[in-house]
Amino acid sequence: MHERRTVIGSRVGLHARPAATFARAAAESGVAVTITAGDRGPVPAASMLSVMTLGAEYGQEVVLAADGPGAEAALDSLAVLLASDLDAD
């Protein structure tokens, strides 16, 4: 099992728009990635609803995990995405 730790970069937290963007990217990666925030999770990263139920706030550390072919590359790009502000508007 591969893991990446990263910090939420979206100022509003991992809420509606950032959660939607992140879940879409996770689904598109084709790898079954999970995300854990503190004592919540792991939940499937490709589910926007599940990701939102983590209630992850700006600056909070989360853990991404996945296994199998392509896992490392998918985790790397998803970690970068989480660390950026996905709600800039």
Partner: protein
């Protein structure tokens, strides 16, 4: 609400001006009935796998429907429609539904319970997440409608013009209104900044929101809807219908054009609010005397690096060229922890409305403000345009003095401040000693006067710009401005309400800035009233003890002064 309303009359918030007489039709609603969670015999025979397949295909149909609507929707609605589609397709919703069909529930009940579980979890997290509730319920209602084979919530198409009535409209409902037979909108809920209000104005449809009793109207009842005043006459008598017909048929006097004027010729500047270069392009085609609010946030948000002086100069030059010969009032960057800038580290705050925002950000990093002012001065020199620059969220004379000094040092000579904080309104005379003009941002001024967060739903009544306390603060500012002989504008939502525009004019406001589609209704309203009438209407509104009573009293006086 306890407005004193006649028997055949409803009163709500007019949010998009215009008069229309037509039958009402309700949005076809498919909200599940109470107790719908009970297993249904028609579905009992099927295996759990078959029931799950039905649930998933209904959710998928909703997603496809939303995706199709998004493809044809106005830009403002696209994102919400796509997010609704994504929710409908969410794998977790399908997994939750699978658990319920295994326990013997129908596809309908499984979808409902799955949605409810997520709503409960999100509600527990509060804030933004709790608001997804409405989107999820929309998904549920649509999926259940699919499963039952009944109509989707949809806009009727009866073959004649009608007024659309609903509790509230979702983005999915409103996405297709542009080419429907809807000639007016009436909703029980919603406020002046609701999605419905914004959309109605952009389509030029008369609209009233927050109207108690709207959903109880009989299907097909004829109404006269006046989007300027918020008044709905139900089953109007022949005399009233004639009146409306005449008002609509009358060559309406040639529509007023040019600078805003009261009936007796008192000038009130009519200006446009813009927020991007594309906005400026659209707005420059309207009959506006200039720009009363150019929001500059678009230059700074949504990017990782800081825009340089050259880049900013180029953008400001484009906008100034579009308004050549007309004044452009530029608001300096209005950031805050709720409008974050990637390269400007602002502390995370529990209460962004009361935190480091607006002009206060300059206290953290002044080079930002200096860059922006330098770029504006360069664009001004390049175009010869008249630039008025103002700072947001000024609270004290010290802040106003520091801003004015920085702006003048950069080479800008028409400097103002926004009045959005009660402290600034109360001491407007001190600020006006230091600057050339002030502009009142009524949305924030209401938020801070009533201690009511604009981002919290359910506080709309406190944020109503007709609140007499808010009008008192506006009056405090206008009297200071008159004493100083300096202009005072209004650039909040209030300026686009035609009747309130008359009140503001009566209070001594010298210019009104608004979304361009709202300009004509305000211009027309002003031409119907003299300055003296505007003053009387303003004084009557301020004498009222509630927002509803203020609007009502102003409406009665305006109607008797200039019958529609």
């Amino acid at each position: 609400m306890t407005a004193d309303v006649g028997a055949g009359e409803l009163l709500g918030r007019g949010v998009s001006a215009g008069l229309v007489c037509a039958p009402v039709l309700h949005l076809v609603s498919t909200a599940p009935e109470a107790g719908a969670g009970a297993p249904e015999s028609s579905d009992q025979a099927a295996t759990p796998e078959e029931r799950l397949a039905r649930a998933v295909s209904a959710l998928d149909a909703v997603a496809q429907d939303m995706q199709q609507r998004a493809a044809a929707a106005p830009p403002a609605a696209v994102e919400v429609l796509e997010m609704t589609a994504q929710l409908a397709r969410d794998p977790a919703l399908a997994s939750a539904a699978a658990v319920h069909v295994d326990r013997g529930l129908t596809a309908e009940a499984a979808v409902e319970l799955a949605v409810e579980e997520f709503c409960t979890q999100l509600a527990g997290l509060g804030g933004y997440l709790a608001e997804r509730d409405a989107d999820l319920h929309d998904v549920r209602d649509r999926a259940v409608a699919h499963l039952r084979g009944v109509a989707q919530p949809s806009v009727p198409a009866p073959g004649y013009p009608f007024v659309l009535v609903a509790r509230d409209l979702s983005p999915a409902d409103t996405a297709t209104l542009g080419d429907s037979e809807v000639v007016g909108i009436l909703t029980e809920e919603g406020g002046p900044t609701s999605h419905t209000a914004i959309l109605a104005r952009s389509l030029g449809l008369p609209a009233i929101v927050g109207c108690p009793g709207a959903t109880a109207l009989a299907e097909g009842a004829t109404v006269v809807l006046d989007g300027a005043t918020g008044r709905v006459d139900v089953e109007p008598d022949e005399a009233r219908r004639d009146e409306v017909r005449r008002a609509l048929d009358a060559p309406a006097g040639p529509a007023a054009t040019g600078p805003g004027r009261t009936r007796d010729g008192h000038h009130v500047g009519l200006l446009a609010n813009i927020g991007t270069v594309a906005d400026a392009e659209r707005a420059s085609g309207y009959d506006a005397e200039g720009v009363g609010l150019f929001r500059t946030e678009f230059l700074f948000l949504n990017r990782a690096d800081r825009p340089g002086v050259d880049e900013q100069t180029a953008i400001y030059t484009q906008v100034l060229e579009l308004f050549a010969g007309r004044p452009v009032t530029v608001r300096t960057l209005d950031a805050g922890s709720d409008k974050p800038i990637a390269y400007l580290p602002l502390p995370r705050e529990d209460n962004p409305a009361l935190g480091v925002r607006g002009y206060r950000v300059a206290a953290l990093d002044r080079s930002h403000l200096v860059d922006q002012l330098t770029a504006l001065a360069r664009a001004q020199r390049a175009t010869g345009a008249r630039v008025r620059v103002m700072a947001p969220m000024i609270s004290t004379a010290e802040e106003a003095a520091a801003f004015a000094e920085t702006a003048r040092a950069a080479g800008l000579d028409e400097v103002g401040v926004m009045i959005e904080v009660p402290a600034a309104a109360l001491r407007a005379a001190d600020l006006l000693d230091l600057v050339d003009f002030v502009s009142i941002g009524t949305n924030d001024l209401a938020q801070y006067t009533f201690a009511a967060d604009r981002m919290v739903s359910g506080l709309g009544d406190l944020l109503d710009p007709w609140q007499p306390a808010l009008l008192d603060l506006v009056a405090a500012v206008t009297s200071a401005a008159q004493a100083a002989g300096k202009p005072v504008g209004v650039c909040g939502e209030a300026a686009s309400d035609p009747l309130l525009a008359a009140v503001l004019t009566g209070l001594g406001v010298t210019s009104l800035s608004m979304a361009p589609p709202a300009l004509q209704a305000v211009r027309d309203q002003l031409t119907r009233l003299s300055l003296t009438m505007c003053r009387e209407i303003a004084s009557t509104a301020r004498s009222a003890t509630s927002a509803v009573a203020a609007r009502r009293a102003a409406l009665d006086l305006a109607t008797s002064a200039a019958p529609v």
